[in-house]
Amino acid sequence: GESVGLHLPTLSVQEGDNSIINCAYSNSASDYFIWYKQESGKGPQFIIDIRSNMDKRQGQRVTVLLNKTVKHLSLQIAATQPGDSAVYFCAENMGGTASKLTFGTGTRLQVTL
């Protein structure tokens, strides 16, 4: 069936370096994508989102890139900090009247000093 997946389950990055977390999706009908950050013992927290009519969106230290041709989504974190250590999820929404997010499997980002 349709799914959202991640290439790397764990990513280790040195403090100060840039991080790139990748996500592959297979549902070409999805029109909305979102990245969440989940710290240990907490609920997912919104980071950034993007609609399918865009290919790039920037936030504070984060950038999401969407490549619809290859159905690929990435999250870039600039100048990674220890507080960025968490599990990151991408999710997609096919749209329609109900907001139904389908989550990927998650990538754990470990920031080393």
Partner: protein
């Protein structure tokens, strides 16, 4: 603080028992959700309610029954708990027509 809150934070119970998890949001949202996160961190939607009406039911066993007394609350009642029900359950909410969902802190359910 405006937020999505859940009680209890932790729930440990025996197989066969019935338990409930409560969720409240004071964000003024019309839509609320329940998600299950398994031991591998996989998040999957279970239910969605819009203004007290069920709109998504993802083939969840009928031992799970959501109840929405008003649009700010969505409780989850689970009958005859099984070992496989052990997971973290997250409540979320969103404004109708919006895609972003706001999550609660989760309830860790352990069935012994």
């Amino acid at each position: 603080d405006t937020a999505v809150s859940q009680t209890p934070k932790y729930l440990v119970t025996q197989m066969g028992n019935d338990k409930s998890i409560k969720c409240e949001q004071n964000l003024g949202h019309d839509t609320m959700y329940w998600y299950k996160q398994d031991s591998k961190k996989f998040l999957k939607i279970m239910f969605s309610y819009n203004n007290k009406e069920l709109i998504i039911n993802e083939t969840v066993p009928n031992r799970f029954s959501p109840k929405s007394p008003d649009k700010a609350h969505l409780n989850l009642h689970i009958n005859s708990l099984e070992l496989g029900d052990s997971a973290v359950y997250f409540c979320a909410s969103s404004q109708v027509g919006a895609d972003e969902q706001f999550f609660g802190p989760g309830t860790r359910l352990t069935v012994l």
